[in-house]
Amino acid sequence: MSILKEQDVVPFRNRVKEYAVKTGMGIVNQTKLITAASELVRNMLLYAKGGIALIEVVSRGRENGIRLTFADKGPGIADIKLALKDGYSSGKSLGLGLPGAKRLVSEFDIQSQVGKGTTVTIIKWKNG
């Protein structure tokens, strides 16, 4: 799904919810996943003028989950460690998006290259 404007955020969240419900994920984990997704999608819009968000159902053994990939061709992040710190923001917002999203999901991966873009991948296991 391509995310290019702020009005894309709510429909995207609804899609994530549909998938999460399909895997039988409980309401608390759903809420955590969608909140993390919301943070990452917002970052993509804000810092990279949009990008692509991918929703997949994944499984490992008997465990099902949802994997979300957020890929943009924005400016990239020079210091990922810093960006992952609670309260760090290059703008005037709260700086909780990346570290908060990381806490809310089971697996979190971020790849970024200055001038090329950023890709964040998260997995939330159904019972994770």
Binding site: Q7, V10, S38, L94
Partner: protein, 134 residues
């Protein structure tokens, strides 16, 4: 443009958020509320979020801003009906809803506001406010 209605109930303003807000709508609500508080001299703002399924850091910041700005205008903000999953998620996200009081439902929220105002006004108010729904 869509707008979120703000109801006036005596000295309180009541807002019911029925949809998951996109950003512009949330920002408009923030400025509309601040204007309304100033215009009406309201002493309390109740925001019913029982239908809200997601509060991310953006939405949390808006709620915090509303509380902060209404406070400057001598009004308290109470958020009512937060879903348990949302509350749990907010904690893990690390979002402190600074200055935002919360209550289980609108009635409890009203009680909380009344007691806060009574405290501030030195108990001089009787509770006629609470019958005068305009």
């Amino acid at each position: 443009m869509e707008k979120i209605p703000i109801l006036r109930m005596g000295r309180f303003l009541l807002v019911t958020i029925q949809v998951d807000l996109y950003d512009r709508l949330a920002e408009n609500l923030e400025s509309d509320l601040v204007h309304m508080v100033r215009k009406t001299g309201a002493r309390g703002v109740l925001i019913d979020i029982s239908a809200v399924s997601i509060i991310d850091s953006f939405m949390g910041r808006i709620l915090g801003n509303i509380a902060m700005m209404t406070k400057v205008l001598d009004a308290e903000t109470v958020v009512v009906g937060m879903q348990p999953a949302v509350a749990i998620t907010l904690i893990e996200l690390g979002l402190p809803l600074k200055g935002v009081h919360s209550a289980l439902n609108v009635e409890r929220g009203m009680e909380l506001l009344r007691s806060k105002i009574a405290l501030q006004d030195g108990e001089s108010q009787d509770d006629d406010i609470y019958h005068s729904i305009e």
